[in-house]
């Protein structure tokens, strides 16, 4: 292989440094100072930042600086000199620069600007410099390096002398294709080979590969081996969800589950057989009918492991990846909304309790929010719905879910590559980024992951993806391609391998445009460089595609063609480096039986009616303030405001609603100009119930997602759902047993509610190993809901609309405080997790929707985490409206004390505000269902709750509730971007 080419005489390198003028405050410096102080840095007086541009071969660096790089109103600059004193006892200078091979999107923009100025530059690299002022020792400097840079993608040059010099990529050259000796290996050696190459294949799978090549009478090439490993990875093939499972359930009942996915998820959708499901489980996203010729697509993905190591890049590329799923749905769907759900360690986790090699939850949260913000906002896709869940067990394995909703014409949903079509790559170039992402994300993390897996972490370039999106959607409308898929995990190997299924393909790997020279064929084939897609293009359409892409500034490369050979043939500069049977690739994977077991945990009583004396409890007013300000309930405003949730001009119900901006149950958009048809987007997850019963956990997750969509006005007969499981180690029978039990609930509740699954994904092995101990996340199921509203002007928001109205509770409250927020606050163990009666829930949602259709409902909110008490407070504070409620009138099951009436988290409950004169019509809608008028809205500016004995059990001014709810997250995270 050739070395990185170097010119004989390297071109001159100039450094342009730009700082804020001395009289202008430096907001980035202030934010850095806050982060450093929070991290425990002592003696810091102030931080100033400088942007550094390293220009190679620039014709006139000073003019480039003045006319392109500097804002003369607030900034000044220096060429080949520092802007601020670099030396002195009180100053330390750190320069943070991206590691070689890590995307630097600004570089291309600067080159374009230089060109427009009529100047020249050969290469551009950007960096940030931090001037730290104060009494700082070397230990402080080391701490600052850790806080200001992420070693996974950045390096820090210390002091004045060290500045980036030549821009030549210091990358080792790629290996060319090589035979791998496999066929003679014994067990240990087979496993050693898999481990050494990071293949994430187990012994049985390695044996199947060995058998295959023994039959062929030859050794595999490294390209072939990598292709098989990528295709068979848990990430791509979902082995656990497809495997037959010997399951032992409660009371020792045994059964064989013929694949979780088929038995519980697909079966539910088949049983429901909704006529409006257009494409389910086939494409990159599920597709449902929407409005006339338009369909909606929805897909949610996880990007957990990369986000644990580099939260900003991990979450950004997570969102970028799921947006490409939308672009790759049918012949291309237009992304209209994004969602994000983060499960993290608590923001106030003491530093000593952060596991080794793991970033603090605050840093993870800041990073993932910034990653989603920068990718979503720049793409111009509103991020409209999401959730935050905090639990210590997520500290080492944070979960990052990103979702994308798209619009696609019904006649552009079907796709099929044909033999003779060209294999065309469009979008970004291929580099060494993200090699082994698919196999890495299928393995567990440990304290060394940070250093070993840096190749698997990347920084995205949303503008490249925006250009790609513009081009793909135009190509769709002009009918230039017959099939499309995105390059996600596994890169070209997965994309082409999937599209060629049932056909065949010949691919010239040397035709892929590269970011830099030196990649070998295996690297090109499995690179997970972002912002790339593969199209199947009829030869006659190629010129049209080239012209369109030239206009949009998108690179096009013909990599090969689809055939009918049933083989995937890969070549590299004329030499065949891989020749795989597609049937073996897709169906040759062993499907070993797994073992799963679920034992009900021993339940402790929480006190009611069983003779146990409950411990003295806090007064309800105090509980309410504590719950409202708790991490799981407090306002998400700090996150929400950083996302553009208005772009595309479709928002009808936003994440924060009412004059005091309470938490909306779901988002509603009117995405088609000139139409009032709406789409509701909601989610539900309840991992805490899983410790008591994964079945109820999953049931509540579905019920909550659906209920949230119904609360804003979605038609419950038109709600599709997505399942995204994040689980621990499936080779542990108890962990897998919990998964089976959760999946059973998915089936039962989805069928009961009539809400089909249309897409889903699983992320397993979310386990952190340290010193022989393993910590797994709580089994987590995110359910996302996509609902349709006939008319967005009939949407309902959760803020109370004003005094003089009645408040109705619908649904039954039971003694279900197990896993509740109140239970956690009071330290109660055990108890019942909420159970879902899907039949009754369905009836409730239909009745509430009917009442909404008749215009009877002024506000609607679901009662879930924190129970009735929190729901009441949220409605009141959102609407800046007083509320007086009588717990004695609440529909309950059995004999419940006031605390349980307030804090039990029973499922399927909604609170409705209605005018007094609507009572009769409302009664007609709700007849036969548990419901009651439990109080009235007032002008008192207070929330007042009376207990069953008639006395006040809770009384609080709205300002106090609002203050408790609104401030905690912002206060914990204030300090700006990482």
């Amino acid at each position: 292989m050739s070395e990185v080419p170097r010119a004989e005489a390297p071109p001159t390198v100039h450094r342009v440094e730009v700082v804020y003028r001395d009289e202008i405050p430096d907001p980035r410096g202030r934010a850095a100072a806050t982060l450093l102080t929070e991290a425990g840095l002592r003696g810091l007086e102030c931080v100033r930042t400088a942007r550094l541009y390293v220009l190679e071969g620039a014709s006139d660096p000073d003019r480039i600086a003045r006319e392109l790089l500097v804002d003369p109103v607030v900034e000044r600059h220096a060429v080949d000199a520092p802007c601020l004193p670099e030396k002195g006892p009180q100053t330390r200078v750190l320069t943070v620069v991206r590691r070689p091979g890590v995307m630097d999107p600004a570089s291309a923009s600067v080159r374009r600007g230089v060109h427009d100025l009529g100047e020249r530059v050969e290469a551009v690299r950007t960096a940030w410099r931090y001037y730290l002022m104060g009494e700082l020792d070397d230990a402080a400097e080391r701490l600052a390096i850790r806080v200001l840079a992420n070693a996974t993608v950045e390096e820090v040059l210390v002091g004045p002398a060290r500045v980036p010099g030549s821009l030549g990529q210091r990358l080792p050259p790629g290996r060319s294709a090589a035979r791998v000796s496999l066929n003679d290996l014994e067990e240990d050696a087979l496993l050693g080979l898999a481990r050494g190459r990071g293949l994430s294949l187990d012994l049985e799978e390695m044996r199947a590969v060995q058998q295959h090549f023994l039959r062929l009478g030859r050794e595999p090439t490294d390209v072939e081996l990598e292709t098989i490993a990528q295709t068979w990875s848990e990430h791509c093939k979902h082995k656990t969800f497809a495997a037959p499972i010997r399951y032992t359930g409660p009371e020792g009942r045994r059964e064989v589950v013929d694949g979780i996915f088929r038995t519980f998820i697909v079966a539910a959708t088949r049983a429901i057989a909704a006529p409006w499901c257009v494409s389910v489980f086939e494409d990159n996203a599920g597709v449902v009918a929407f409005d006339g010729p338009w369909c909606l697509s929805f897909k949610v993905e996880t990007h957990n492991h990369p986000s644990a190591l580099e939260p900003y890049g991990g979450a950004g590329t997570g969102l970028g990846g799921v947006i490409r799923d939308t672009l790759g749905t049918g012949l291309g769907a237009r992304p209209i909304a994004s969602t994000d759900v983060f499960c993290l360690g608590p923001p106030d986790l003491p530093a000593l309790e952060v596991p080794p090699g793991v970033l603090h939850p605050r840093r993870v949260l800041r990073g993932v929010v910034a990653g989603v913000r920068d990718y979503g906002n720049r793409m111009g896709i509103p991020t409209v719905n999401g959730a935050l869940v905090f639990d210590r067990r997520y500290a080492a394995n944070p979960l990052v879910y990103c979702g994308s909703v798209g619009l696609v014409p019904r006649d552009r949903v079907a796709k099929e590559a044909r033999s003779g079509d060209l294999v065309v790559a469009v979008g970004g170039r291929t580099g060494r980024d993200g090699i082994h992402g698919a196999t890495f994300s299928s393995a567990a993390l440990d304290e060394s992951s940070e250093t070993l897996s840096s190749g698997a972490v990347q920084i995205g370039d949303p503008i490249t993806e925006k250009r790609l999106a513009d081009a793909v959607l135009a190509a769709r409308d002009r009918g230039l391609h017959r099939s499309i898929t995105d390059c996600g995990a596994g890169g070209f190997s997965s994309a082409v391998g999937e599209m060629a299924r049932g056909l065949g393909a010949e691919v010239d790997l040397d035709q892929a445009p590269l970011k830099y020279p030196g990649l070998g064929p295996a690297e090109v084939w499995i690179s997970e460089a972002q912002e790339r897609m593969v199209l199947a293009v009829p030869p006659a359409a190629l010129e049209g595609l080239r012209a369109l892409c030239a206009e949009e500034d998108v690179e096009v490369a013909v990599l090969g063609r689809f055939t009918d050979s049933g083989r995937l043939v890969l070549s590299w500069h004329g030499e065949t480096v891989g020749d795989l049977d597609l049937a073996f690739l897709h169906e040759g994977m062993p499907r070993p039986e797994r073992v799963a077991r679920w034992d009900a945990p021993r339940r402790a009583s929480t006190g009611t009616g069983e003779g146990r004396t409950p411990r003295p409890r806090r007064p309800s007013g105090e509980v309410l303030l504590a719950l409202l300000s708790g991490w799981d309930t407090c306002s998400r405003e700090w996150v929400v405001r950083q996302y553009d949730h208005e772009v595309q001009g479709a928002a009808a119900v936003r994440p924060l609603v009412g004059p005091w901006e309470g938490p909306s149950d779901a988002a509603v958009l009117a995405p088609l100009a000139g139409s009032r048809r709406g789409v509701a987007i909601a989610c539900g997850l309840a991992p805490r119930y899983g410790d008591l019963d994964p079945y109820r956990m999953a049931a509540c997750s579905i019920d909550e997602a659906v209920r949230n969509a119904v609360a804003v006005g979605a038609d419950p007969a038109r709600i599709a759902i997505l399942d995204n499981f994040a689980w621990g180690d499936p080779s542990d029978p108890a962990t897998l047993g919990a998964l089976v039990r959760a999946a059973q609930a998915c089936h039962d509740v989805a069928v009961g509610l009539g809400t089909p699954f249309i897409s889903g994904k699983d992320s397993l092995n979310n386990v952190y190993r340290h010193e022989g101990r393993a910590t797994a996340i709580p089994g987590t199921l995110l359910v996302s809901a996509l609902g349709v509203l006939e008319d967005v002007t009939r949407s309902i928001t959760m803020d109370l609309k004003g005094p003089g109205h009645r408040l109705h509770a619908v649904g039954l409250t039971r003694d279900e405080v197990g896993g509740s927020a109140w239970g956690a606050l009071e330290g109660l163990e055990g108890g019942e997790a909420p159970a879902v009666d899907a039949g009754r829930a369905r009836a409730i949602y239909a009745a509430v929707h009917q009442a909404m259709g008749q215009g009877l409902v002024l506000a609607c909110h679901d009662a879930s985490e924190g129970g009735l008490g929190v729901a009441l407070a949220e409605m009141a504070l959102a609407g800046e409206a007083g509320l007086e409620v009588d717990l004695g009138r609440l529909p309950v099951d059995g004999d419940l004390d006031d605390a349980r009436r307030l804090w039990s988290e029973s499922a399927s409950r909604l609170l409705l505000e209605a005018a007094p004169e609507a009572a009769g019509a409302l009664e007609a809608c709700l007849a036969g269902l548990p419901h009651a008028d439990i109080g009235a809205t007032t002008a008192s500016g207070r929330l007042v709750v009376r207990g069953t004995s008639g006395g006040e059990v809770l009384e609080a001014p709205l300002e106090a509730l609002r203050e408790a709810w609104r401030t905690p997250l912002g206060r914990a995270l204030e300090g700006g971007s990482p």
Binding site: E67, V73, A108, Q642, E646, G649, R654, G674, T793
Partner: protein
């Protein structure tokens, strides 16, 4: 070059300029069409090939987005491109009575190119104002109130009004090169939009979401034909756009539509 008059008529022709990273073009076209215009999205690259084509339009709109990733600074790279490739055509366009609107990133581009606040005469590498990083150092999306200065620009209503509009930006802090520029803007009545609270009075954060000098949210050039603003009028056009529509009731249209209607009406009659 033909003057922009050729773009006039019952449905004035509007060019909505786009490039890599433009992302508010579709809803801006929709707002213009609702206001009675014939709006067309055109890639800057195509217009740069034939700058004279600008003369076929009555209105030029630079919509919101993150052109070229807002690398270096928001709107900077597109501003350099406009100056280099379309500078003369822009000057001629305004001289012939063409209207120009820049929203959010479009405003940033106009300011960085010098077209605002100075007008075509000030096009060049020495801008008199900037839209710097928000004081919060964060991108923020929220609804604000702006007081609209009546008269003085074909884009604006005849009388002063207060509109609710959403902002969504990280670099919107309007600052000028020295106090004289600011004083001239005030004296000449070219502060078209000012951040105010719900009662119409200037206030601190969050009423002023970014720390702009004199609470400035939008300005015009000396002719009034060129208008730029950080808030998004195209996001307050439909009856359900106002964040409190579930309390206020469904209206015929949002306040932002008035801006497009005024501009389109002016182009029609001008």
């Amino acid at each position: 070059m033909k003057g922009p008059r050729s773009g006039r008529g019952v449905r004035p022709r509007v060019v909505v300029l786009r490039t890599a990273g433009t992302n508010c073009d579709l809803e801006t076209v929709h707002a213009l069409q609702r206001a009675g215009a014939e709006a067309e999205r055109v890639h800057v690259r195509r217009l740069a090939e034939r700058p004279a084509d600008l003369g076929r339009y009555a209105i030029l709109v630079l919509p919101g987005g993150f052109t070229y990733g807002d690398d270096v600074a928001a709107g900077r790279v597109l501003a350099v491109e406009l100056r280099a490739r379309l500078g003369d055509a822009l000057g001629e366009f305004v001289a012939h009575g063409g209207l120009v609107l820049g929203v959010c990133n479009g405003f940033q581009v106009l300011v960085r190119a010098g077209l605002l606040p100075g007008g075509p005469a000030a096009l060049g590498p020495e801008p008199q104002a900037t839209l710097a990083a928000n004081e919060s150092n964060r991108f923020e999306c929220r609804w604000v109130h702006v007081s609209v200065r009546g008269g003085g620009s074909p884009w604006l209503p005849e009388r002063d009004e207060v509109w609710p509009l959403p902002v969504a930006h990280g670099e919107g802090r309007f600052l000028t090169r020295g106090p004289a520029v600011l004083e001239a803007l005030e004296r000449e009545g070219r502060v078209a939009f000012r951040y105010v609270d719900e009662r119409g009075r200037p206030g601190g954060y969050p009423a002023n979401p970014n720390g702009s000098a004199h609470h400035i949210a939008g300005v015009t050039d000396p002719t009034g034909q060129v208008l730029g603003l950080m808030p998004h009028p195209e996001r307050n056009v439909e009856p359900w756009h106002h964040p409190a529509w579930t309390r206020l009731g469904v209206r015929a249209a949002g306040e932002g539509l008035a801006l497009f209607r005024r501009g389109v009406a002016a182009a029609r009659s001008g």
